[in-house]
């Protein structure tokens, strides 16, 4: 297999994921409506309850809507990552996973391609959201829209890799509700998406530390800083480290020689 074969394979996987996404209007609409509801209703309600002091990367006092916008961008990617996980479980139940795994291209590449395809979809969703959020006066610098792209790719890959790891543990689609309760909501609420860390630290030190080790916190901060043309090296390093760990775990979980799937099938 030559590099061109790998490139064609990647193109095919990205195209399939995009087609599935385009054809599932409800998935697209809900992915967009969810953060907009938070922005339009939640942020409006809390804008006078939660005061935000001047914290980097902001150089002045900001409305609450501006503060939570990067968190909502992260939310889109978090849900999308978990949606990819759901689609892996769906593919496994429907049998289309077998089609993927019968490719002569190495499995680690197939998983990375799947990851990248999910990230492409999530990045498009984020830009549509940012476009609409502009009307709520979420107006980062123009170059911020470009600077945030690498951050979105990195955070999208990291959250997608987490989704892949989770998908190897989920037996049936019905179990996906558990992912919502035990992964998405705790990750979202125990992060800087809705409130800055210093506020959390004031109220509870141990929740503060949970937020600190939460990969989603660092993904959100990476996005927040990049959107305002600043680089957050700690957030970048932690996001990359989590990406490496989750990707290695996903490749491990989908390797038939150590396959969690085969063991699970054997038990079933």
């Amino acid at each position: 297999m030559k590099p061109i074969h790998y490139a064609r394979c990647l193109g095919g996987i990205v195209q399939r994921e995009s087609l599935r996404w385009i054809q599932q209007y409800s998935r697209f609409i809900s992915a967009l409506v969810r953060p907009l509801v938070w922005l339009a209703i939640f942020a409006a309600g809390f804008r006078f309850v939660l005061g935000v002091s001047i914290i980097p990367p902001y150089e002045t006092y900001i409305p609450y809507e501006v503060y939570i916008a990067p968190g909502l961008v992260g939310m889109i990617q978090l849900f999308n990552g978990m949606q990819s996980s759901l689609s892996m479980v769906y593919d496994r139940e429907m049998g289309s996973m077998k089609t993927l795994l019968m490719s002569p291209i190495p499995r680690w590449f197939l998983l990375l391609a799947k990851l990248l395809a999910g990230t492409v979809v999530s990045v498009v969703q984020v830009y549509v959201f940012l476009g609409i959020a502009w009307f709520w006066e979420i107006e980062p610098p123009l170059w911020g829209y470009l600077a945030v792209l690498p951050a979105l790719v990195l955070s999208g890959l990291m959250l997608g890799a987490l989704g892949l790891v989770l998908s190897s543990f989920i037996r049936q689609l019905e179990n996906f509700a558990g992912v919502m309760n035990f992964v998405i909501f705790p990750m979202f609420f125990a992060s800087t998406a809705l409130y800055p860390l210093w506020r959390v630290k004031e109220s509870s030190l141990w929740i503060y530390w949970i937020c600190e080790i939460n990969p989603f916190t660092h993904a959100v901060e990476l996005i927040r800083f990049a959107l305002y043309l600043r680089f957050n090296p700690l957030a970048a390093a932690v996001t990359i480290a989590y990406l490496a760990v989750f990707t290695a775990l996903a490749i491990f979980a989908y390797d038939p020689s150590r396959s969690l799937m085969a063991r699970r099938d054997a038990v079933a």
């Binding site: 030559k2 394979c9 289309s96 019968m102 291209i105 099938d265």
Partner: protein, 250 residues
Amino acid sequence: MSLPALAVERLSHSFGPRKVLDEVSFSVMPGDFTVLLGPNGAGKTTLIALITRLYHCKTGKISVLGNDMWRHPSAALAKTGVVFQQSTLDLDLTVGQNLYYHTALHGMARRQAKGRIEAELARIHMLDRLNDKARELSGGQRRRVELARALLHEPAFLLLDEPTAGLDIETRPLLLEHVRRLCAERQLAALWTTHLIEEAGTDAKVVVLNQGKILADGPVAAVVASTGSSDLHGAFDHLTKLAATARAAA
């Protein structure tokens, strides 16, 4: 003498203490239409999962045209086409989108893929369904599309796992005939797994698997003659009863 399209050598597999395959060996030569015959629970599904690399092969060896499935998986999988028992088409995509996805997974260029897709769909008289959603096809049509898909990358070895399961009585012989013709015309080696004895016909090569062991391997006529039976049904009954007696005695 050409290399076997599929060679399975001393393959064993266990789930915990339960041994589901025991020293299984057989081969499928180019042009052979081979029927892997076994009742439910014989170990066929595990064997298929090992051949398709969905399970890890710990004991024994599987090779496709001399390429070890575990040491050189890319070369082995590039020469393997599979039709799974459960439909693996993406029902939300069109027939064409499903087929292009498969060609991309095999690294094929778009132009080459287009030619192959049109040729294979024309062969099964379904070129006019290219832009229809897979969901709109009947069970038999989906199965034919899956067969066309398995052939797009021009494999030397075709594995069909209970391909007639769920199909109506009229469609079954048509599919069987189609695969037999492919073997004759393209020197394609096919392994057709089934629990339906009549699908072996009278001129296929047959491998009888029961309780994880190979009980017979050879042309239908030779297997029937070796048991002194009048047909394959009789031979199958004879072989399985013999195996049950041996197990009871052991």
